[in-house]
Each structure stands twice: as structure tokens, then as C-alpha cells.
Symmetry: C2
Subunit: 507 residues, 2 copies
Amino acid sequence: MIKMGLKEKEQKFFDYLKKMESYEEALNLMYWDLRTGAPKNGLERRAETIGILSEEWFQMSVSDTMKEFLDELTEKHVYDNLSSVTKKALQECREEYEKNIKIPKEEYKEYVILQSKSESVWEEAKANADFNQFAPYLEKLIEFNKKFISYWGYQGHKYNTLLHLYEPGITVETLDKVFAELKKHIVPLVQQIVQSSKKIDVSFLHKPFPKEKQRKFSEYILKEIGYNFDAGRLDETVHPFEIRMNRGDVRITTKYDETDFRTAVFGTIHEAGHAIYEQNINEELEGTPLADGASMGIHESQSLFYENLIGRNYHFWKRYYNQLKTYAPNQFTGVSLNDFYRAINEVKPSLIRIEADELTYCLHIIVRYEIEKLLFEGNLDVSDLPKVWNDKYSEYLGIAPDHDGNGVLQDVHWAGGSFGYFPSYALGYMYATQLMQKMEQDLSNVEELIENGEFQQIQSWLTKHVHLYGKMKKPLEILKDATGESLNPAYFIQYLEKKYKDIYSLD
Amino acid sequence: MIKMGLKEKEQKFFDYLKKMESYEEALNLMYWDLRTGAPKNGLERRAETIGILSEEWFQMSVSDTMKEFLDELTEKHVYDNLSSVTKKALQECREEYEKNIKIPKEEYKEYVILQSKSESVWEEAKANADFNQFAPYLEKLIEFNKKFISYWGYQGHKYNTLLHLYEPGITVETLDKVFAELKKHIVPLVQQIVQSSKKIDVSFLHKPFPKEKQRKFSEYILKEIGYNFDAGRLDETVHPFEIRMNRGDVRITTKYDETDFRTAVFGTIHEAGHAIYEQNINEELEGTPLADGASMGIHESQSLFYENLIGRNYHFWKRYYNQLKTYAPNQFTGVSLNDFYRAINEVKPSLIRIEADELTYCLHIIVRYEIEKLLFEGNLDVSDLPKVWNDKYSEYLGIAPDHDGNGVLQDVHWAGGSFGYFPSYALGYMYATQLMQKMEQDLSNVEELIENGEFQQIQSWLTKHVHLYGKMKKPLEILKDATGESLNPAYFIQYLEKKYKDIYSLD
């Protein structure tokens, strides 16, 4: 292949990728639209449209054309002359190609049908708190995933292959170590807090706060922290999410609870963390699959950075508490800044993961991780799952579900066939605090910046070390390049111990 | 082809059409989204996405696969065994195929670029009221369209080919006749009104009416007249429009002018007329190109039916005027129902088509029709256009533009290369009144139904005679089947004379 031919081929590859990204933009818009107010009578046909465009995307990812690009552009004498973006794009596409091509078509179809069926059954089983109803589906989903692992291959533990889907580079070996560390420190700290005589008054949190005022305050805070409304918008949905149409259009949604403003305020800050990430990925990657978060965990590190390390920080509210009061003048009468700060950081072991506080959250994840590992090792029968679940909740959180509806059936993930996904949430917490520790070294005055509402410097640091790269680096590469070391749970543990011992006046 | 093979082939054809419709749904959603609040930084990439998906649709419409369907399914022994829906769908696709395939690719590309460039130039020229700036582009656009006509062929007058694009079956011969009739009656009636001593007080129309109240009243009225919010939604845009995602999702938009509530109220009723049409097309046609309005004119007949024959009807306000008052309590103090009715039907010759009243509207169209015909006959130089425009306005409307910005440059249509489109608006008025005349015969108590807010019967009549068919019938076929005769302008003239002589106490 001569030089000219190479450039042309490279360009054709990018045109092909751009077309795939265009399908994705259309699909994402349809997804967003379905959740922000598409009329119900149109849903059936819309589902077909989504199916048809998804199929088109999928076929492009495994087509002969794609195979040709992958083969021709990775021939050594060609590959060496490619730009680093092209190289990474080829790797991404190769992974996607291999992942999809290795599963026999018929089996994949069966699996998609099973997923969809399982989700409806799960919904009913959860409402009935009836695990037996869901168990046969769960068994089949696990069987399918075991078969997929056998097609895809694995290194070390079989479960590594699943982890790789969401968090490439993270293995059972790593997780066993870091989760053991977390348990060792968090479990006793939670116990200390539960047994402590210090009680936090949270009653004022639940006074009525009109939705419209919450919306205005949320918008104000979003602008303050650097969410760009010229490249996004805020809407209302039952389940909040962030979604990217393209680099200049990264939307977020929230929900408003008039008796708990935290839902909207911390929810929007969380989604804005995701969005600020995607609004600041290097423009050069636009139109390729690299214009996306590096992994679920790195994505979550950004949302949690904003939600917790900024949004639940004392210095943040030192600046914004008085502002908040002006949006709901009577709610906070007689509530000092300290009272407020403690209330929004109250620790309370609970049964439901998505309602958990910052300290106990990872324990919910560890329960799920340990169970998933056992399932894929073949050391746990699905029928024993509820018992193991409840035992682990008792052991780590000191409470146990009274029925499977708020126990083992609470999350949709397994019903959708997502195994290996949960650890990413916990990784997000660890990544975030590890990044913060380095940022504090580099900027030296992070608390001051927060207190002064100067978020631009904070964001610039994150953009420089995380956002810009999109998928150009793997998660641990980002972490290593940014902080100088690989995953180290010590920073998260230090952060939690310092913060919560202070709040609960322990030691 | 054996019977079994035929069914399969037919099914494959429908799958193919459904895929095209899916692209269209995605494109329409992107179009809607761009106008209802997509963030500005995303527009550039969005334009590319729209380009890529449109191209995909276009390629499907002229592909070898399409050609095969068209050829194989129209072989006589096959064709005779097809359902009527398949037959009509084949005709639609054949027309689209021929239209697109006959234009050389390179020429079409040049034309698309010219269109886009012309629209920007036109925008500037209009702002500068500088026709000379736009003239060279207009000349090229006309040249291109003349060439297209030579590729497509024509019967009778060359302009017929352009008319066919928007209003199949309507010819210069027909339009010359009906427009002559309209001029003969409307021009003197307008003169009489202008010269009459009767003046209508419209000052109260411009008192402030809060936007939120307008929105609520509009929603109320939309529900009353039968717009189905389970199959649609109402949003705000600079230029109101109606757009269909699918049969269960037909959206409308409006704009709110706080010093003229008529913009929103009559605007939403107008768009709802379009939407009620598309919400009630036969379900069997869904997923084919037949699930669309029969023509621009028939579409317009439905919006005008609702806007004018219902919305500006005395009996309508006899029912809803008191309701309206509750949304804007002070605006209508001392304004009787009769005053109100006359004010919303005030006749006032004006320069701008889109601001014209019901009586003078068609004169604006006739000016444009006569000019387009001259242009395509080769009997008018572009450079003479402003003069001819102004002369015709003086002759038909008794007023002339003071500059080309509110004269010949006012509409975007020509800049986009749309010639032959304007007559559809006037046809909509004639169709609507012709349908109403027959409906009155069939239902005998239409005024009573309106006054009682019983719109279901009215809608059922329209659905039975118009909506259901989608593109299964041509415009004049719909008219003939519904009313027993072809286009007859007498009904529109009668309607106008009766209504406006009454309002202005003439004769």
C-alpha cells in the first residue's frame, strides 16, 4: 500500500466510524426523547425504529468492510505509519468486532430475547418479593454469560472477562485486595458510627421545597461548577441520567422530590460530573468510538468527584448555603452551616444501594461482587443466593432485608445480564479520591478554590489528566499517568476516616 | 414466481419500506429537537448526522434493491395478486425512484449546494431589501428546475411538472380557471371592505396576555377539538410546525406573543388540524410511505378547516369566549362576543402573506402563481420580478411594498428551490370549504355541533372521508369521493361572501 493509498484508507475508515457514530447520535436522541416526554402511543413503533437502527450499527461493527479495515490497517508496515488516534480506534473496533463475532448469531438472538423477558419477570418478581419467580431466568442468564466467557476466553479468573467489559485492566486479583482493605476499615467505622451517641438532626431536609425553586437552584449550581449549557440541557425524568449526542450536546436529567431537595441538588451535580467529562473530551476524537468515557469506573469517578468531593464538601456549602436559603427561605431557619453539613452527610446503613450514603455505599458493591464471583466460579447455586445476600448484609452493614424485594431483587443489572458491572461504582469512589489527593498536591489550595467558587482550575486539572483522553487510555493508565501510581484504596479510606470521624466526633 | 414466493417478496418489500420509515422517524426527531432546544454547540455535528442519515434514506430510494422490488412486483401476473396497499406503495416508490434517478448525481449535488447557499444569500438580501443580491441565485435555481423538468418530462404546461411535486393532479389549466374565479369575486369584495365606513375595533387584541395562560388555554382548546395528547405533544418554537414521528407520535409547536394571543391560539388550532389528520391515518399504512398526507393542499385543507371553519367560526366562540376570558380576565372587559368575533376576522390588505387574513390570503398566492408560471414559460426575466410583483400587489390588494424586503423577497420558498408549492395553500382553502359544504349536508347540524363542543362527529366525518386514506388516494380523488365533484371554487367564494358581507354589513 503506497502512502497515498494509506491516507485514503485511513480517511475511509474514519468516514465509516463517523457513520456509526451518527447512528449512535440518533439512537441516543431517541432514548433521551423516550424518557423526557415522548407520547405513549408512539412507543411501539419507536421501539421498532430503535431496533432497526441498532441492528444497522451492530452490522457495521461486524461487517466484512470492518474486517477489511481491521486487517489492512493493522499490517505492520501500514500500522506503524498511522496516527495514534487511528491506532486506538482500530483497537477499540477490533475488541468490539471480536466480542460480537465470536458469539453465534442464533445464540445472541436467544440471549437478547432472554434479557428482555428477564427484565419483565424481574420487575414482577421484585414487586412480589418472590425470588423463585426470577431464579430460573437468572440461572439461564448466568449460563449464557458462562458460555460467552468460553467463546471470548479468559485470563486468570473467568470473571475477569466480565470485568473487562466495563473496566478493562481491573481483575479479581486487584479487587480482592482493595475490597478487603475497604472492608477492614469501613465495616468497623460504620459500626462505631451506629453505636455512637451522636445523632444528626435531618428533619429539616424533608420540609417542602417547591420543585420550580429546586430547578432554578440546580441550574444555578450547574453553571457555577462548569456545566456548559451551550453544550447541554437539563430535563426531568423518573430516573436521572446523562447522555451524549455529540461533544457539543451532552444532556443531563434529574428528578425533583419536593420533600427532599437532595435528590435534585446532588443528583444534578452528579450527572453534571459525567457531562463535564464528555463535554471536554478532545475534539480530535469526535466521530470515533474514542470520544467516550474511558470506562464505567472512570466515568463514575468524575460524577462522584463533583457530587461528593465538591458537592458534599464543607467548603462548598460555606459558599453556597446562604444562596440555597434564598431559594427556600423558611426551610433552613435555625439550621447552622455545621448542622446542614452534617445532615447532608448523615451515615445510615440501609438496604437499598441507590439510597446509600458515601460511607456505606461500597459495602453494597462488595456484597454484589463477592456473590458474582461465587456464581461464576460455580461455587454458589442460584437458589442459595437470597440467603448469602442476607448474611452478607448482616455481616457488613449490620442489617438484613425483611424480604427479597429490598434484598437480592433490588437491582435491574442481573436481569439485564450485566455481571461484572457493579465493581465500577466502587472503583469510581477510589479513583475519585486518588485523583483528588494528587490534585491537592498540584494545586495546593483546592479547598480555597471550592470555597471561592473557582471551579475552572479544578476542572482544568481533571480535563488535562482525565477528560481529554476519552478512550485513548485505559482506566489504570489514566490513574497512573495522573497520580503516579496504580489503584490505591488508601486515599479513599483516609478520606472517609477523616471526614466521618470529624462529623461524628469519633476518636 | 409462485404464490409463496410472492408473499415473501411482498414482506421483504415492506421490511425495506419500514427501514426507510425508521430513518425518517429518526430524521424527524432530530429536526424537531433542533427547533425545540438542542444546544447550539451540538449543531455542527448534528448537521453531519442528519446528512448521513438522509443520504442513507436517499440511497435506499434509488438502490438496485428498490429497482428489483419495483420491477419484480409490477410484473403483471404478480401485480394483479397484490393488496391495494402494496400497489399504492409501489406507485409511490416508483415515482420517488424516477424522480431521483433521472437527475444526474453530480447535478443534484451542485443543486443541493446551490440551495443551501441561496438560502443564506436570500436571508441577507431580505434583511438588506436588496433583490439584486439574490437575483443571480434565483436565476440559477430556475435554470436547474427547468433542466429537471426536461429530465422528468411534462404534459401540457412545463409548470405542471412542478405542481405535480406538491399537488398531483392539479394543472395550470385548472388553476388558471379557479384563480380567475377567485380574483373575480375576492378583489371587488376586498375593495368594498376597504372603502366601507365600518371599522372594526381590534385594540383589545393587543393587550398583554401572559404566555403561561396562553399555553394553558391552547392546551385546553386542543383537547376540546380532538388533538390526542397521548399521541403528541405541544412545544414552543420560533416558527410553529407539525411533525410526525409515527402514527402514535404527531407533535405540534407554537409560539406565544404576549401582545397578540391570536398567534398561539389560532396557530395551535392550525397545527392541530394537520396533526389530527396524521393521527388518524389508517393504521394499516404505518411503516409505508403511504402513511402521510395525500398532498400539501389536502394537508392544508385540514389545518385550515380547524383554524378557520371551526376556530374563527361565530359558534365556536359562542361556546369558548367565556372560557377564554377566564384565562385573561381583564383583556376582554366590555368586549361583546360580536365585537370579539369581528375583531378576529378583521380584513386588512397587507404586504406579508403569512400575516394575511382569510379573505385576502389567496390573492397573495395568486400573485406568486402568476409569476412562477411566467418564469417557467420564459416570459419573465428575473430582473423584472420586483416590478411585476409590486404591480400585481397594487392591482389585487390595492397596496404595494415600499421595498423588496416586504415584497418579492419575503418568502423562503424560492431560495430553497420550491417552485409550484404556493398554489397548495390556496387549494387548501378551497378544499376545506368544499368539504365543509358536503359535511353540512351529511350532518345537517355542524354549527350546532361546534357550538356544543361536539367535535367528535366532525372529526369522524373528516377521518372517514380524508384522514384514513393517507396517500392511498390522490387529492382530487379524495375531493371527488368525499363531495361528489372535482375542485369547485364556488364553495369558497360563497363562504367568503356570506361571512364577510355579514361582518362588514355589506349589501
